[in-house]
C-alpha cells in the first residue's frame, strides 16, 4: 500500500495515446476528486472538457475512458463496478457503459482511478498493466479472436489467473453499433457502441493486475457502516434481499410479466404467453449449477449454467440474465430457454450487448413480419416471430457484419431504420437513437420518463427506477414529497421530481461505483449510506445534500455535452409507439403514455434541473454549480438556456 496522501482514490490517472504509442501518469487533483467523486463523474467531466463538437466517434480525437470510484476495491458492498465513457457511436452524444466483475478493483489495486485512451494505433495492441508497469504491447495474435479466447490467451501468456482482462470480440473489431467491452468473460460495459470505439482504436484489450491495495481513512467506520447496511437491507428489504440472492435477475421475467411490463414482440405487448418457459422455475430446475458475484457482492446474482442434454449439450456460460431471457425470448416471440441461454453466451464471446443486439433484431423481426424486410434483406432467413432456429445465426452475422442482414443490423436499429425508411422508422424503439431493455414505459411511467431524459439515450440504468413500484406510497410521500408517484400507471407531475431524485441517487452508484442492486426498496439505503461510505473511505467529509449538488453538477455537465452536440427537448421523447398504441393485453391493458402530460412533465423536470423549456442549461444554474466555463462556452455557441 502506497502512502501518496490519498485515501479511497488511488490518486493517478493513466493517459494512453495510441497514435503516439505513449503511456503517461497524471496526478489526480483534489478539485476533481471532491467535485466529481469518481467513475462516471470523472469520465463525464473529462469527456466534456476534451472531446469537442465535430469530433468523429471513430476518429483519433474521441476518447475511451475507464473510470473507477473511490470505494471500488474496498469492503463497501458491491463495489466492483467501473464506467467506460465515450462520444457515442449510436446517439452522437454522451455515451457510457457500466460493468461489474473485478476489473475495476484490479485497476485500483494497480494504482489507477481512471484510464483515458485517445488516438488510433497503427496496429492492434493491448494495454498491459501490472502495478507501476503500464505499456502497450502487440496484439496481432489476438486480433480476430473472440473475447473468451483473448482472455484465455492473455492469462496464459502472463501466467496470471488473477489478472482481469477487458476485451473486445469480433463485434468491436468490426465496428458494430451493438458491440460491448467484456471483462472476465461475461461482464459487459455496454451501450453507445463502446466496443466499436475500442475496435476503431485498434485496442484489443486491457489486462490489469495490482497488488498495491487501497488505503481507507476510517477502517472501523467502513466496517461498521457496511454491517449496518447489510442489516438494514436484510431486515427492511427482506423479500428483495432473499429472492434476489436466490435467483438473480432472471426473477424479473416472472415479475415484469405480472406487471404487464415484459417487452414482447418488439414492445408491441407487455405480457408474454410463454413467460413461464423462460423464467426462474425452468432455469433453476434444469440449468443453473452455481452462482457468482462481482467484487464485494452480497448477492451473487450471476447464474452459471450448463446444458446437459439436447442440441446444445455441453454449453456452459455465466451471467446470463433477464435481458437475455426477454431479449432473445419474449422480444422475438421465442419460448426456447436453451436458445436464450446460448444466445447470451454467444453475445459474451462476440462482444455484443444483449440489449442492443436483441433490440436491433426485434426491429428486424417486426419489419419482416410486416412485410417491410424481405428474404432478400435477410439473406434468406425467415424472421417470423417465434422462429428460434435462426437466432444464433443472426447473432453471428451481426458480430461479423456478414451479408445484407449483418450489415444492416450492425448499424443499430435507428440508423438501419433510416436506411429502410417509411414505417421501419416507427418500429425502431429507440430514444436519442439508443436502444433500451427492461420494462415497458406504458405501465411504469416514471421508469419510462427516465428513459426519455437519460443523458446517454434510451436506458433504464440512469434512474433504475424500481422505487416507483417498490416504495410504499407512505415512503414515496416522505422521500419524494408526493404519494402519487407510487401509481405506476398514471403520469402525474410528481414523476418529474421522482426522476430527478433517482437520477441523482443513481449517479452516486455510478460515481462511487457501487452496483445499483444495493439500493432497491429501502429508501434509507439510498439516503443514509453513500455520504457515510465516502467520508469513511476518503476522509473528506461529505453530506447527503453536498452529494446532491455533485449529482446536479454532473447531470448538467452531461446535458451540456449533449446540447453542444445538437440535442435539446426534441430528443427527450419516447418512441412513438408508446404514445399511440395502448397496451393490448396483461395487467396494464389499455395503458399508453399521455403525450400532453409527458410535455408537462418535461416542463417540470427542466425546471427542477435548472434548464430552460427547451432543455438548455441556464447560466444561473451553471454558475451555481461552479460551471461558469460551460456557461461561457454555451453562450458563445448560442446554446445557453433562457433565464425565466
Amino acid at each position: 500500500m502506497t502512502d501518496n496522501g490519498w485515501y479511497g482514490w488511488a490518486g493517478t490517472i493513466l493517459r494512453v495515446d495510441l497514435t503516439k504509442g505513449t503511456v503517461e501518469k497524471q496526478p489526480l487533483t483534489k478539485e476533481m476528486a471532491y467535485d466529481y467523486i469518481g467513475g462516471r463523474g470523472f469520465n463525464s467531466k473529462i469527456l466534456y472538457d476534451e472531446v469537442k463538437p465535430g469530433t468523429n466517434p471513430l476518429g483519433p480525437d474521441n476518447l475511451l475512458i475507464f473510470g473507477t470510484g473511490p470505494v471500488t476495491g474496498t469492503c463497501i458492498p458491491n463495489n466492483g463496478r467501473f464506467t467506460v465513457s465515450t462520444l457515442s457511436l449510436v446517439t452522437g452524444g454522451l455515451g457510457d457503459g457500466n460493468s461489474g466483475g473485478h476489473f475495476g478493483p484490479q485497476m485500483k489495486y494497480a494504482g489507477y482511478d481512471t484510464i483515458v485512451v485517445k488516438g488510433i494505433s497503427p496496429k492492434p495492441v493491448y494495454l498491459y498493466i501490472n502495478d507501476d508497469t503500464a505499456e502497450l504491447r502487440d496484439a496481432s495474435h489476438l486480433w480476430g479472436k473472440d473475447v473468451w479466447e483473448t482472455t484465455d490467451i492473455l492469462m496464459h501468456d502472463h501466467d496470471n489467473k488473477s489478472m482481469s482482462v477487458s476485451a473486445i470480440g469480433p463485434a468491436g473489431e468490426n465496428v458494430v453499433a451493438a458491440s460491448s467491452i467484456m471483462n472476465e468473460y461475461a461482464r459487459a460495459a455496454a451501450k453507445a457502441g463502446v466496443g466499436a470505439i475500442m475496435g476503431s482504436k485498434k485496442l484489443k484489450a486491457i489486462s490489469v493486475y495490482g497488488e498495491k491495495g487501497i488505503r481507507v481513512y476510517d477502517p472501523e467506520d467502513v466496517y461498521d457502516s457496511t454491517i449496518e447496511y447489510i442489516d438494514l437491507i436484510a431486515r427492511t428489504d427482506k423479500w428483495w434481499f432473499e429472492t434476489f440472492s436466490k435467483y438473480g435477475t432472471p426473477m424479473f421475467v416472472d415479475q415484469y410479466n405480472h406487471l404487464g411490463a415484459l417487452p414482447t414482440r418488439n414492445w408491441k405487448e407487455g405480457t408474454f404467453e410463454d413467460a413461464d418457459k423462460l423464467g426462474i422455475t425452468p432455469l433453476y430446475e434444469k440449468y443453473v449449477k452455481k452462482k457468482r458475484g462481482c467484487g464485494g457482492c452480497i448477492y451473487h446474482c450471476s447464474p452459471w449454467f450448463r446444458i446437459d442434454e439436447g442440441p446444445f449439450k455441453g454449453w456452459v456460460g455465466e451471467g446470463v440474465e433477464y435481458e437475455a431471457m426477454t431479449g432473445f425470448g419474449s422480444k422475438l416471440g421465442c419460448s426456447n430457454l436453451e436458445v436464450c441461454l446460448v444466445a447470451g453466451s454467444l453475445c459474451d464471446m462476440y462482444g455484443l450487448d444483449y440489449i442492443s443486439a436483441s433490440e436491433a433484431m426485434g426491429w428486424a423481426w417486426e419489419c419482416y413480419n410486416e412485410g417491410i424486410l424481405t428474404k432478400e434483406d435477410t439473406d434468406g432467413l425467415d424472421l417470423s416471430w417465434g422462429n428460434d432456429s435462426i437466432i444464433h445465426e443472426v447473432l453471428r452475422k451481426l458480430a461479423y457484419k456478414e451479408g445484407n442482414l449483418g450489415k444492416l443490423l450492425a448499424l443499430g436499429s435507428r440508423k438501419a431504420a433510416k436506411k429502410i425508411g417509411g414505417k421501419a422508422e416507427y418500429y425502431s424503439m429507440t430514444i436519442k437513437g439508443q436502444q433500451m431493455g427492461s420494462m415497458d414505459p406504458r405501465v411504469v411511467t416514471a421508469w419510462g420518463f427516465g428513459y426519455g431524459v437519460s443523458t446517454r439515450g434510451g436506458d433504464h440504468l440512469r434512474t433504475h427506477l424500481v422505487c416507483e413500484y417498490m416504495f410504499t406510497p407512505e415512503e414515496m410521500e416522505k422521500y419524494i414529497g408526493d404519494a402519487r408517484a407510487s401509481d405506476r400507471f398514471n403520469l402525474s407531475e410528481a414523476k418529474a421530481d421522482l426522476v430527478r431524485w433517482t437520477e441523482n441517487v443513481r449517479f452516486l452508484n455510478d460515481s462511487l461505483e457501487t452496483c445499483k442492486y444495493i439500493n432497491r426498496g429501502s429508501p434509507r439505503s439510498y439516503v443514509e449510506f453513500p455520504y457515510r461510505w465516502l467520508t469513511a473511505v476518503t476522509g473528506k467529509k461529505f453530506t447527503y445534500e453536498g452529494l446532491q449538488d455533485v449529482a446536479d453538477r454532473v447531470l448538467t455537465v452531461e446535458r451540456s455535452f449533449n446540447v453542444r452536440q445538437g440535442m435539446d427537448r426534441k430528443d427527450d421523447y419516447l418512441a412513438e409507439r408508446w404514445y399511440k398504441e395502448a397496451m393490448p393485453v396483461g395487467s396494464g391493458k389499455g395503458s399508453k403514455v399521455d403525450k400532453e402530460m409527458y410535455d408537462k412533465l418535461l416542463d417540470r423536470y427542466y425546471e427542477v434541473r435548472g434548464w430552460d423549456q427547451n432543455g438548455l442549461p441556464k447560466r444561473s444554474h451553471l454558475e451555481k454549480l461552479g460551471l461558469k466555463y460551460i456557461a461561457d462556452e454555451l453562450q458563445k455557441m448560442k446554446l445557453l438556456g433562457k433565464e425565466a
Binding site: 431486515r235 427492511t236 416472472d254 417498490m470 415512503e475 401509481d487 405506476r488 426498496g521
Partner: protein, 113 residues
C-alpha cells in the same frame, strides 16, 4: 408499558415513524381482519387503492407490519406468483395489528385517495 406504547416503540425501532405507517398498512390490515391471506392475495384485494399498483409495494408494507408484529405468518401455500416465493407465506392480523388498525382509522377518514 401499555400495548399502545409497545406499538409505538416497535414502529420507532423499525425506523417506520414519521408517517411511514399509513393508509397502505391500514388497507392490508383491513384485508387480514377478514381472514388469513398471502401477499399476492392481499394485493389482489387492495390494488388501485391509495396508489398501490404493484405487488411489490404490498410485499414491503406487509413485511413492515410483520416487523412491528402487527401481522404474523401462520403457514405457507403455493400461489401463482413464482417471483415472490415457491410457496407464499400466509399472514394473520395480531392483537397489536388490531390496535394499529383502530389508530389508523382514527387518523384517516379513508384509506383511499
Amino acid at each position: 408499558m401499555s400495548e399502545k406504547e409497545k406499538l409505538e416503540k416497535a414502529i420507532e425501532r423499525a425506523g417506520l415513524q414519521d408517517g411511514l405507517i399509513g393508509r397502505s398498512h391500514g388497507l392490508i390490515l383491513e384485508v387480514l381482519e377478514k381472514g388469513n391471506f398471502c401477499k399476492s392475495e392481499i394485493f389482489d384485494q387492495v390494488k388501485g387503492r391509495n396508489y398501490l399498483t404493484a405487488p411489490q409495494q404490498v410485499i414491503r408494507a406487509t413485511d413492515q407490519l410483520v416487523e412491528i408484529r402487527a401481522a404474523k405468518s401462520v403457514g405457507t401455500r403455493k400461489t401463482a406468483y413464482a417471483e415472490i416465493a415457491e410457496e407464499e407465506e400466509v399472514y394473520q392480523i395480531t392483537d397489536r395489528g388490531k390496535l394499529l388498525l383502530n389508530q389508523l382509522h382514527a387518523q384517516f377518514k379513508t384509506f383511499d385517495r
